[in-house]
Symmetry: C2
Subunit: 226 residues, 2 copies
């Protein structure tokens, strides 16, 4: 005979996977500040303190969330496309991830990329630069420049169309047209629908230059052979 137990909650055991997934969902739906250990516990049908059995502290939970974000960034496999196009896809994918996770994305440029997971991606990206004929110094510079652009664009795009708690916005419309004529002229070009184009504009500047550099290096190498 069955014991008179409370309605069986068929509780799956906790795991780092389940916890970080729930954490990302909370951040996506309710923002970074909404992620508290107590709320995270509630979502998982568990006391907050149970989480400490899987993560030493909240910081570790955030690192696990960061890992999930990194996991969404795609670099097409080697050989499937020219290296330059693989890298372009990588940059776009990075920004797309930012747009999918506007509240969580801040973790990417602020917390260090120090998981094995992100090292794996990092190494592959550097391989693509190497395939272009770039040495370590040049790879480092282009890698960072593209990263700067992608993070900066991600953050700015988010900031420009995400409501912020407790903000004290000064609305552009409150000024008469003579006050900030140039800002008013520029504003329509920076609306949500145009930000893709703005990002592509920046990307093209960098990639055109990369193309030229790669070409110059190949020609140099060709000459050396002869």
């Amino acid at each position: 005979m069955k014991k008179n137990s409370p309605p069986a909650k068929p509780r799956k055991p906790l795991s780092r996977e389940r916890i970080s997934k729930a954490a990302l969902e909370i951040i996506d739906e309710q923002g970074m500040d909404a992620l508290t250990m107590r709320r995270l516990g509630k979502v998982l049908n568990v006391e907050a303190m149970a989480l400490y059995h899987h993560f030493a502290n909240k910081g570790e939970v955030l690192d696990a969330v960061l890992d999930r974000l990194v996991d969404e960034v795609e670099l097409p496999p080697r050989g499937s496309q020219p290296p330059l196009e693989r890298l372009r896809h990588f940059a776009r994918s990075h920004r797309q991830m930012a747009l999918r996770h506007p509240h969580a994305f801040i973790l990417v440029p602020t917390r260090r990329f120090n998981t094995e997971h992100s090292f794996d991606l990092y190494e592959q990206v550097l391989q693509a630069f190497s395939d272009l004929g770039f040495d370590a110094a040049l790879s480092a510079r282009y890698f960072r420049t593209i990263g700067y652009l992608a993070s900066g664009a991600g953050l700015a795009d988010i900031a420009s169309h995400a409501r912020q708690p407790d903000a004290t916005p000064v609305r552009l419309e409150t000024f008469d047209d003579t006050r900030y004529p140039l800002i008013k002229a520029v504003a329509p070009h920076l609306q949500k629908g145009n930000l893709d184009a703005v990002f592509e504009f920046g990307l093209d500047i960098i990639f055109n230059r990369m193309r030229d550099d790669a070409k110059a290096l190949q020609e140099k190498k060709g000459k050396e052979k002869r």
Copy 2:
């Protein structure tokens, strides 16, 4: 005869200025999380609740801190240098500000730039683009691209040499040399002393292209005149 009062604290009256200054100092010295209304009050010799007479909430305090940061970004006055060099100075100054305020800088790309103060700077920067002969669409794109680079670089530089609470870093040194050969080759080029050069590398790519665009526009204008 004097009353037997406690040792007179010659307390200056509170003001938004004094409060935001103290807030920035706390963030600079102890990090973003250390800024609490209670601590801010203590530094100012006042109960935390007194602050609410000057700011509606903590968010407004942060906006005031942001305003102080914006105030440190320099755009040389019109006519003092060619527009392109004024803008280059602006971009460098933006990054320098990030390095001076590693803990506070995050406010810049995440909170909206919606104070009158920042609008004034914004308008002047756009004037510099206009002086180059750029229309609103092109100004918008270059302005953003430079901003992406400067914010991205600021954040990345900070992240790479700021200790983070509760991080779980995977140290590169723990792997044998065959595991991440390219990362290991690139790492020395991304150390603290080399990040200035990396930023200048990215800046040059963009500014060279801007120079070419400005020249092309001037030639076109010259032809139209004839």
